[in-house]
């Protein structure tokens, strides 16, 4: 049944395109129900498969000539991310209720993107995964280029070229793996158990990892992220930061690390102080954490603050992956979920609640408007989101970052100190943004000459949905941990565990 998340999204896209008449309401409501149906299916699937085992959903021959199958399957990691996609999709539609221009096209592209994302998380054939991964690229371009703001065409093109260049590396790795494994199958399970020669893994791993990590915003390939997020319309920013970046991180884990675990082994020599790809990427991740947070601290554009904070938070995901121990890996997956929710919320506040009303994102201009008094709901939501973002206990970010830090402490003690510094800077920039945007000094004295439309019902609903998600998973982490841990312990990741113990 889980496969219907994909089909229903694509069908919804078609339905929206051919929705009768000029009425925008029909398109919106259709899109909302499509996304709700996807979320519903995801929730039912999580309830049914609470043990996180790998279950095949569909498996039929696709291109028998090359041994390629149409194979959808889900384990706990996929389920977690499918759930995230469902939540983010519904929230995104609620926050784009005010789109007035080319409404049908907007929601059609949006749903195609969602369908492709579901497809990536559920694919268990490597070519199929790649196909969905690439399908996701084109809607992103049009969503940003048509409905975006600041330098939208530039940002859209940059984002698409980065993703496509990354996926070119991935494709090279996929084809190479396919040929080495005898050109018979691209089934992920079969490949995970195939003993690829260590020398092959040594170069295939970085190729594929970097290819996916581009989309996960790994420093120094992150530059598409802030510009893309800032230019995108609210719903697209929410999806980009919330879900699409996870595609990259998921690919790193599911493809690069699961198939080529020995690529993380020691090189046997040291170059520039590095002894293995594990160390190289861990250092890049830490740089991403600190760099993203530091740059966020000095941004004037409100959306860029959030954009760079995404880079910083995705650094935690990559760092968690590179710890190679169980707690670090589960922290990384948890952070994928957590950041997906929290980033969505932050972008919703900035893009929809604030920007659509004030038409400025300049923090200095915002500080002259007493936003805290005019739209208190936005202020409260942003405060909550910031707390979740900096990882206060009680929110999902706490569970995730704590695990990542513990995992890092076990693998690279000194790096966890630097990452901890990143968290401190994170607190600083969240504080600064909150202060400047909502409780500016100038605003206290200025007379409120602005009258903003009140927060609408869909906005409230979307905000509640995301806040509840982050608090529930923060207070009751077992909900997801029970899915994630068994998957990480499964036979698929055996190579990774063996590598870590070596």
């Amino acid at each position: 049944m889980l496969a219907w998340t994909i089909y229903i999204s694509f069908l919804g896209a078609i339905a929206v395109t051919f929705a009768p008449g000029k009425s925008t309401a029909v398109a919106r409501v259709t899109a909302l129900f499509t996304a709700l149906a996807g979320l519903g299916i995801a929730i039912v699937a999580v309830v049914h498969n609470h043990s996180g085992e790998l279950t095949t959903i569909v498996r039929t021959s696709w291109i028998p000539q090359l041994g390629i199958e149409y194979h959808l399957a889900a384990d706990g990691i996929s389920l977690t991310l499918v759930l995230l996609t469902g939540v983010a999709a519904v929230a995104g539609i609620l926050f784009s209720w005010n789109i007035e221009r080319r409404v049908k096209e907007f929601f059609a592209l949006y749903l195609v993107l969602i369908g492709a994302v579901y497809g990536v998380f559920l694919s268990f054939d490597l070519l199929l995964l790649f196909v969905f991964y690439e399908i996701a690229i084109i809607p992103k371009y049009f969503l940003i280029a048509i409905w975006g703001s600041t330098r939208r065409e530039y940002a859209a093109m940059k984002l698409v070229l980065y993703s496509f260049a990354g996926s070119a590396l991935v494709l090279a790795g996929i084809i190479a793996a396919y040929c080495v494994a005898g050109a018979r199958t691209l089934n992920l399970e079969a490949l995970a158990h195939f003993p690829f020669p260590a020398s092959f893994q040594m170069w295939a791993f970085p190729l594929v990892f970097v290819g996916f990590a581009v989309l996960a915003g790994m420093w120094p390939f992150h530059t598409w992220a802030p510009t893309g997020h800032a230019a995108a319309p609210t719903a697209a920013s929410m999806l980009l930061a919330g879900v699409v970046m996870k595609l990259g991180a998921y690919g790193c884990l599911r493809v690069a690390m699961m198939l080529f675990p020995r690529g993380l082994d020691s090189w046997g020599f040291r170059a520039l102080g590095f002894g293995s790809w594990q160390q190289v990427f861990a250092v890049l991740a830490v740089i991403g954490i600190v760099y993203g947070a530091t740059i966020a601290l000095v941004q004037r554009d409100f959306k860029f603050v959030i954009g760079y904070s995404s880079v910083s938070h995705m650094g935690f995901v990559l760092l968690g992956l590179m710890t190679l121990n169980r707690i670090g890996l589960s922290g990384a997956v948890y952070q994928m979920f957590s950041h997906g929710i929290v980033a969505g919320l932050l972008f919703a506040v900035v893009g929809r609640m604030v920007y659509d009303r004030t038409h400025t994102r300049d923090l200095r201009e915002l500080s002259r408007i007493p936003l805290g008094r005019l739209i208190p709901f936005a202020a409260v939501t942003f405060a909550v989101a910031s707390m979740a973002s900096i990882g206060l206990p009680g929110f999902s970010g706490f569970i995730a970052e704590l695990q990542v830090l513990i995992g890092t402490w076990q693998s690279f003690p000194w790096m966890s100190c630097v990452a901890g510094l990143g968290i401190l800077i994170g607190i600083a920039f969240s504080w600064r943004a909150l202060q400047a945007a909502f409780f500016g000094d100038a605003a206290k004295t200025a007379t409120p000459e602005h009258v903003f439309p009140p927060i609408t019902f869909p906005e409230r609903l979307g905000a509640y949905l995301l806040i509840v998600s982050t608090i529930v998973t923060g207070l009751y982490p077992r909900l997801l941990m029970d899915l994630i841990l068994p998957s990480l312990n499964s036979a698929l990741f055996e190579g990774l565990r063996r590598g870590a113990s070596r």
Binding site: W62, I63, P64, Q65, L66, L127, F130, V131, E134, I135, I137, I138, Y141, F142, A145, I146, E153, M157, V160, L161, F164, A165, S167, A168, L169, L171, A172, I175, A176, Y178, C179, V180, A183
Partner: protein, 496 residues
């Protein structure tokens, strides 16, 4: 030749004969009965007659499926050649349909019959394994295409393109013939099989090297690979749209297939090695270099283009580079991959030209002219999106799978990663190519239409043909097996 082998000749060439006769018939029809009719009616009747001829030949190929060979490889008919011929006929029908509502010429009969003659030449070209017949059919094809390129007598561009095409083409034909004559001198034969035997005994012969270089230059011109590509942008831009469509699609299919067969069947002994670090002299190395240059130059130069047709021409040069990768790999699997690639590529390019021909009355040429097309002609724009994304290699469209298959075939050799350098270059360049395709699509969907423009009326035949092409591109991308199975089965029989 005995009497029975003339019968054999007739039997094997029946489809070609039908097409050629249809060409003559169209000519006569237009010059006699349709003399007084209006241009539109003449075009329609001629196209209907020509398409009927193609369909008859198609039915003949499918139902009778003649198989066999004439002495010294003059004509070899097997399921593989048959598959290509079917594809050529389908492409010809689509080209004719795109031209059905054209108004660039008064000489309707001549135009349609030349399209059919070119198709006849291509059908013969793909089903021969004999140097002389290869040369004659290439010349037959080229002459038809030169005239088709210059068919728009009111346009100076068209004349210029034809002249340029003719001069370059004549020169490269001479070079090709020179190479072939050297090969004949070495082996004493014009049939590919005996040549292969002679090449195997003396692969290092300097005369052979010269012959290979010459023939590669000649064919490089036909397939528009850099550095033999100079004619392509002019022809794509200057020729009447449907002529350019023919040059861009079916002539590529036929030339690539013939090129592969020539090198694969006759020159295997001098292949050499293009694998990284294991270079040894031979034509694979040469072709690898041509492929690399084509990919680089085609894709990078395309970025700078402002005319959509020139952009398509440079992208064609880039695509020729990808297809040559399959030739460098020269395995049966890579032939299958090449056939799949070139057929789906031809469909996508043809479709793009079909869209251009539907916009002919709008006189669009530069990318800026496409602004707001998404509003003015939503159906057409969607098809253009499909074609360009297929060319860029975005799944689930046919172009993606073609690339995947070619690259798999290039890496799936005894030494796995010998050609990885070429594949990586191709992948990086295909990332570059997305940029310029998106540049066009950006105008179509993102930019607002210029003031006082209205919806565009698309002729019915064109729109049917464009939609059919788009559907084929999507279906072949989602279910590549449909074509792949046929190719594999045909290959089994052809290279038994």
């Amino acid at each position: 030749m005995t009497g029975s082998s003339y019968l054999e000749l007739l039997r094997l060439t029946a489809p070609e004969i039908i097409v050629a006769l249809a060409g003559l018939f169209v000519l006569v029809l237009d010059l006699t009965f349709l003399r007084q009719a209006t241009l539109a009616i003449r075009f329609r009747s001629a196209v209907i007659a020509a398409c009927t001829g193609c369909v008859l030949a198609l039915v003949g190929l499918e139902k009778v499926s003649p198989q066999g060979a004439l002495p010294s490889g003059m004509l070899v008919a097997n399921p593989l050649t048959q598959l290509i011929q079917i594809a050529l006929l389908l492409l010809a029908i689509l080209v004719l349909l795109f031209g059905a509502s054209a108004d660039f010429t008064q000489n309707v009969g001549e135009y349609c019959s030349l399209v059919l003659f070119a198709t006849t030449a291509m059908m013969l070209l793909v089903s021969t394994q004999n140097l002389l017949v290869i040369f004659i059919t290439i010349e037959f094809l080229s002459l038809s295409l030169y005239v088709l390129t210059g068919f728009d007598k009111n346009s100076a561009r068209s004349a210029e393109a034809a002249l340029k095409y003719f001069l370059f083409g004549g020169m490269s034909a001479g070079i090709l013939l020179f190479g072939m004559s050297l090969l004949y001198g070495i082996s004493g034969s014009i049939a590919l099989k005996p040549i292969a035997a002679a090449v195997n005994t003396s692969p290092g012969d300097p005369m052979l090297t010269l012959a290979i270089v010459m023939m590669l230059a000649g064919f490089g011109f036909k397939v528009a690979a850099a550095p033999f590509h100079m004619w392509a942008p002019e022809v794509y831009q200057g020729a009447p749209t449907s002529s350019a469509a023919l040059v861009a699609s079916s002539s590529k299919v036929a030339s690539f297939f013939a090129l592969f067969l020539l090198f694969y069947l006759a020159l295997m002994g001098a292949a050499g090695n293009a694998g990284w670090g294991n270079y040894s002299s031979g034509w694979t190395l040469l072709i690898a270099a041509v492929a690399a240059v084509s990919m680089l130059w085609g894709n990078l130069a395309a970025i700078a283009q402002t005319s959509v047709r020139r952009l398509l021409a440079y992208s064609a040069i880039g695509h020729a580079g990808y297809m040559l990768v399959a030739l460098v790999a020269h395995s049966p699997q890579s032939l299958a991959a090449l056939v799949y690639y070139v057929l789906t590529y031809a469909l996508a390019t043809l479709g793009a030209f079909g869209v251009l021909s539907a916009l002919e009355t709008e006189r669009v040429d530069s990318i800026a002219d496409f602004s707001g097309l998404g509003k003015r002609a939503p159906g057409l724009s969607f098809c253009l999106l499909v074609f360009l994304l297929s060319l860029a290699g975005i799944p689930p469209l046919a172009g993606f799978f073609g690339k995947f298959y070619v690259f798999v075939s290039a890496l799936n050799l005894p030494q796995h990663f010998a050609l990885l350098w070429l594949v990586l270059l191709a992948l990086v360049m295909s990332a570059v190519s997305l940029y310029y395709y998106l540049k066009v699509l950006k105008q179509v969907y993102v930019s607002e239409p210029k003031a006082e423009t209205s919806a565009i009326a698309v002729p019915l035949t064109t729109s049917v043909a464009v939609w059919a092409t788009a559907a084929l591109v999507v279906v072949l991308g989602c279910f590549p097996d449909m074509l792949l199975n046929r190719i594999a089965a045909a290959l089994m029989i052809a290279f038994r």
